[in-house]
């Protein structure tokens, strides 16, 4: 205990943060969020907004942009302040930081695109409790420097937006016959309204996980064959 007190500032070594992610190139930090560690498809975080607002592509774009904004700026601030934030109150501090950026995003959206803000409704302030953001703060941004935290936040944000857009496109095209408001199949197309209603959200997500599962199983079988 006393040994720390006698050390001068320049003698203190860089503290090894317990549980810090192993060092790797920046592009890997970025790429992991999109593919191997996709927040929605692999980690299954942030399912609520993904299913709730994915009935229109424009909603998906707005939500993706808002989440990305909050994720990038909160990660940047948290990783810059990581040596100042006391360990015991870190979660409360993270939530306050995230909440500040969410309020900014919410107010900006209300001012500049009131229509989008009305459609998304309470789901913009609900970004505060999106597990992706707090999860990244706790697992990554609170433990590494701002550069890596930024790369990671961009990757995770893009991964989230991508999954969201896949859902939105499928649901809007099938459920409404449109893409971003343009009619795709002419006016004879009978829209499957079921897909843009709540059960359609669960169903689309379920189909997506089934596809992922099928792909994973196929890979496993191929590997087993190659092994023998």
């Amino acid at each position: 205990m006393t040994a720390i007190e006698v050390q001068t500032v320049d003698q203190v070594p860089e503290p090894i943060v317990p549980g810090a992610p192993p060092p790797q190139p920046l592009w890997l930090d970025f790429w992991r969020g999109i593919a191997d560690d996709n927040p929605v498809l692999i980690q299954m975080l942030g399912l609520c907004p993904t299913m709730a607002i994915s009935n229109q592509v424009s909603n998906g774009l707005g939500m993706g942009a808002a989440t990305m904004f909050v994720l990038v700026f909160s990660s940047l601030l948290i990783s810059s302040l990581r040596k100042v934030i006391p360990n015991e109150v870190r979660l409360a501090t993270y939530i306050l930081i995230i909440c500040t950026f969410v309020t900014i995003a919410d107010l900006v959206m209300q001012a500049y695109s009131p229509l989008l803000s009305r459609t998304l409704g309470p789901f913009v302030p609900l970004i505060v409790v999106n597990c992706i953001i707090l999860g990244r703060a706790e697992a990554f941004a609170g433990k590494v420097g701002p550069g890596r935290a930024l790369a990671d936040a961009f990757g995770q944000g893009l991964g989230f937006t991508m999954a969201l857009l896949i859902m939105c496109t499928f649901r809007e095209v099938v459920g409404n016959g449109t893409f971003l408001g343009y009619h795709l199949f002419g006016h004879n197309y009978e829209p499957q309204i079921f897909m843009i209603m709540p059960p359609g959200g669960f169903l689309t997500m379920g189909l997506m996980f089934l596809t992922m599962g099928w792909w994973g199983e196929r890979k496993k079988v191929k590997l087993a064959r190659a092994g023998k």
Binding site: M44, C48, A52, C99, P198, P199, F202, G206, L210, G213
Partner: protein, 192 residues
């Protein structure tokens, strides 16, 4: 008055069920719905926190936030976090068995979107204290209902022969879709 309150209660419980129609609290819905017991216990804990939140939010809206509406989200999340902390300490002190069974999901109630959603909607709809409490009870019982339905189905699934590709989450989501479809039938009662 009574008609209004019962309408709020039933529309939140069935038509706009928090989990199956509004997509709220899905993390705990998929995470805890493997066993009936833990499922409905978490539902009860959630209901309790929801009611406490409704009361706290009404106090905040009436006496504090009128002069600073832009602090709404921050104020709500801080209040919810402290409420959950208080509930957690109380349960730990008086009901240690329940505390052990709920484990990590008790503190996670803070990040359950249903709680913050309730606080925000209660504000935008301008509910008074009685309406807010009834809204919270309806929402909480709706969560509990969805959790126990899902848990009872998943208990059966444990002994079923499920194809490998559906084993992780796929099948559970399809089941949730069917449940949600069933709840859509209640929309015939009117829209709330």
């Amino acid at each position: 008055m009574i008609a209004n309150l019962s309408w709020i209660f039933f529309s939140t419980l069935l038509i706009n069920n928090f989990t199956l129609a509004m997509f709220l609290g899905l993390c705990s819905f998929f995470g805890v719905s493997t066993k009936m017991d833990t499922g409905w216990r978490l539902g009860a804990a959630n209901t309790f926190v929801l009611v406490m939140t409704a009361i706290a939010v009404w106090i905040l809206n009436t006496f504090v936030l009128a002069s600073a509406p832009y602090l709404r989200t921050i104020a709500f999340i801080v209040v919810i976090a402290s409420l959950v902390q208080i509930v957690e300490m109380t349960i730990k002190k008086f009901l240690p068995v329940l505390f052990r069974e709920l484990g990590i999901y008790l503190p996670l109630i803070t990040t359950n979107c249903a709680i913050l959603y309730l606080a925000l909607t209660q504000t935008t709809r301008g509910y008074n204290l009685a309406e807010g409490i009834v809204y919270a009870i309806g929402g909480g019982l709706g969560l509990t209902l969805a959790l126990s339905l899902m848990a009872s189905i998943r208990e059966r699934l444990d002994v079923a022969d499920v194809p490998a590709m559906a084993r992780r989450m796929g099948l559970v989501l399809i089941i949730a879709s069917c449940l949600s479809m069933a709840f859509m039938g209640f929309a015939g009662m009117g829209s709330g």
